[in-house]
Symmetry: D2
Subunit: 245 residues, 4 copies
Amino acid sequence: MLKVTVWNENRHEQKNPAVRDIYPDGIHGTIAEFLKAEGFDAGTATLDQPENGLTDEILANTDVLIWWGHLAHDEVRDEIVKKVQQCILDGMGLIVLHSGHFSKIFKTLMGTSCDLKWREANEKERLWVISPSHPITEGVGEYIELEKEEMYGEHFDIPAPDELIFTSWFEGGEVFRSGCTFKRGNGKVFYFRPGHETYPTYHNEQIQRVIINAVKWAQPVKREQPVYGNAQPLEEIKEKKGEGQ
Amino acid sequence: MLKVTVWNENRHEQKNPAVRDIYPDGIHGTIAEFLKAEGFDAGTATLDQPENGLTDEILANTDVLIWWGHLAHDEVRDEIVKKVQQCILDGMGLIVLHSGHFSKIFKTLMGTSCDLKWREANEKERLWVISPSHPITEGVGEYIELEKEEMYGEHFDIPAPDELIFTSWFEGGEVFRSGCTFKRGNGKVFYFRPGHETYPTYHNEQIQRVIINAVKWAQPVKREQPVYGNAQPLEEIKEKKGEGQ
Amino acid sequence: MLKVTVWNENRHEQKNPAVRDIYPDGIHGTIAEFLKAEGFDAGTATLDQPENGLTDEILANTDVLIWWGHLAHDEVRDEIVKKVQQCILDGMGLIVLHSGHFSKIFKTLMGTSCDLKWREANEKERLWVISPSHPITEGVGEYIELEKEEMYGEHFDIPAPDELIFTSWFEGGEVFRSGCTFKRGNGKVFYFRPGHETYPTYHNEQIQRVIINAVKWAQPVKREQPVYGNAQPLEEIKEKKGEGQ
Amino acid sequence: MLKVTVWNENRHEQKNPAVRDIYPDGIHGTIAEFLKAEGFDAGTATLDQPENGLTDEILANTDVLIWWGHLAHDEVRDEIVKKVQQCILDGMGLIVLHSGHFSKIFKTLMGTSCDLKWREANEKERLWVISPSHPITEGVGEYIELEKEEMYGEHFDIPAPDELIFTSWFEGGEVFRSGCTFKRGNGKVFYFRPGHETYPTYHNEQIQRVIINAVKWAQPVKREQPVYGNAQPLEEIKEKKGEGQ
């Protein structure tokens, strides 16, 4: 059974009754719930818990980590970010949601600013499937329509994704690469755009389906990790004459 | 005229007479020389200069930065690395050579460990052209053969390159993605494997040709940079009713 | 001086006065004109000329071929398509415009149906730059806006492009990967979406700029082509015992 | 239960007793056997059967098709190739083995010559894992070593693969992209190099493991296919004035 940890900074839920109304158990609670219903072993972790919620034990028991953050990216401690990065390079999957584009862990894995255009204007988003052969799109129609969402617009300052899965159309005139996969070390990363805290996006079944599919896709591959460092030759190396070393 | 700065930590040259014999003006001097002969405005910068050789003025006057480091990656100050990263995101080209795979700037841009297998055994390397339509291969034969080089072997822990230009065969039994392009922000990055300090690799004309081609390829694109942050709608957004924000 | 051949089926111009009004010298004439003004050696070729306009001599004198077709894809003879494909594999650049997505040559190079959604409804298109470091975007703003164009919408059935340069937003609710690069053999291919015959799209300076940039990008690399077939070993192969061959 | 059809031209087995000794039930028989042992519903099809072994019924009952051919590529009828291409665009997985690089179906899907260097010299091949996070490498070590194989060398004239999974080292001095994924339409394609008919390659457990993993990876995604053609607008399009259509 796949072990999923849903991490959330869990601040909007504490501050804003409108968010709490939509997500009474927090965004993390809602996401964990539909993952459990799918048969995953899903737990939650939040910023204000010890070790920012990500103790060694929890990380060791996580196949796929889901990340939602916005207000408090800077409060995630650097040594925790380093640990999470190492877990990913060691094979853990990572799903970064919405405003997590500016999280330390995502920026660290991308190497770029991860900046973008944005606007909160109750506008329509339509996520078009670009890669219909990809398992992350299983059971999803040609597009997912969200009546009201925050806008994120290009240019999105990320490395070209390994695979572009969704591209969003926004009512106000922008487009956005809203579903992107990246491989880092032995781990797989999926960025998925929707999920502004004041909208019921994570209650949308199509959005849930994408996250469920992404968890399966991001699961670690069972194999021994590569060995790095000084290596003995596998074949005989001939002696050579003359200058150089 | 393209402005190139060749950065070198310049330590092996000071410590090891064998290296000094091969590169009397330092690796940076040799590289700058053949770039000048090609018509570039090429200067050098070294670790022990003020600001690690990379003052704001020098960076502002650099279209493409070439990087060679090995012994002293840690001595490059973090704020200098941040500045260089920003310059690349703003459009400066970067060519990372050989042991620069472990430089702070390359690891920062990749988001991975950049680790690999290695061995110093005077062994033969043969770099095969994988992407014959790429301008970095202009004037280069089917492969470049180096009689004696250090071995770097897979797995090379980098993100999948945007373009794979060369793959090396090593006498001792390994392979390596030895010419890789990456885009980051408005900038372009080329990693090129060969160039262990105890071999005359940068005197090889085919190797020089690749570096010259890479400088041209990596030059900044003349355009205004994208604008990020809050954005006004370009189209009218309809008012919507009901819950959510 | 780069040699460009602008190929056009040149049928709408003969049948539809509205098209002729916009392009009195044909779409090919307009494109060739702005390419000449840029300093290229640009000629034209049309379907109804001998050999579909693409004689061996013309192909041999073409560095980059531009392709516009729509009504008469089937009239391009298969042996001409094969020749053009071979020229591209040998290094010639190809720029496929708009409805050329359904040309024999593009479908042959892609291996897919190249199908898409479409609609003629005088609607607004906005092409967003996705890859700001790419030379095809030189001198182009954050987006190009076209007041009226035909809509092409995803899913666009092509292989994932090597580089995604532009993505279009359409007024009617769709998105489209409207600037895509592909490498095939020793040649480079750029697909660029805009250019429905009843709109003055190729008179737009930003559109012209993209095509000019694309010609430069697509030019052949000067190098000897790879050698294929039976190959002598470059290293000694040890004799082995036992079964097998 | 995944339905796999193993297609083999089955000619070497008829002509060459040495091949028959290694594969008494044909290459297809050996591959189908280990796939069945893994729990797949695996059948076989061969060139000399009606419809080249690929009737509509068989294709309709195939989730993943495996392809081995060499001597008789030209005998596969063009209309069968078209049908297989359509099945792949509709979602069927395809695994092309070894000399299948020159099959009509692979060349059609790639759009290139698919040419390469080759040599039969009983030489050692070592397939290095390049993408350790990819499910096709599950349970596979850092490399797979084959004591004796035919050599295939770069340049391999294919489009840049979507994912590069393995790269081969050859004793005679060449390298080769020996495990490559491609997406085409709704289908997924994996090319896997090893398997010359005079060597017992498909009896190797690591090679079997890769093929088993590839079958799982290449399985169709359960979703409705994209709709193509003329499309009604999803949003209101404003009337515009002036010239153009």
